[in-house]
Subunit: 85 residues, 2 copies
Amino acid sequence: MNIDILGLIAATLTTSAYIPQTYKVIKTKSASDFSWIWLIFMIIGIFLWFVYGLMIKNIPLIVANGISIISLITIGVVKYVYRQS
Amino acid sequence: MNIDILGLIAATLTTSAYIPQTYKVIKTKSASDFSWIWLIFMIIGIFLWFVYGLMIKNIPLIVANGISIISLITIGVVKYVYRQS
């Protein structure tokens, strides 16, 4: 298999995975199983990939990581708003 | 900032994020907030990154994606075993 196609499929899967996940979290108003450390590390880490994409002007990196960041922030907001008091 | 260092920090964050997340899931025996689609897409997608790492003989890609796959499979096993019946 062509290496570039492998990377493209991998990136498409790991990005599109976040769309049904975010939908589930919004619908169930529940994100308590997500660890804050996971969320914060992922948001910072993926933001750095996003910046990296901007620096090398790579549209797929910008789009993929942009979608993932929006999803992760949404999960974090739901987790915070609907936390058990 | 050096672009390679940016990528290294990003990869370290997005990989190490899974360690406390997996610990939390095992400890609470709960992973119901995770979407099956997210888990399956992430496992396949990260497995492809792992294969990509093997193809280009890149140790950081192999190690980082190997840790993430083990974590994601563990989350999937907990989600399946402790599903609400």
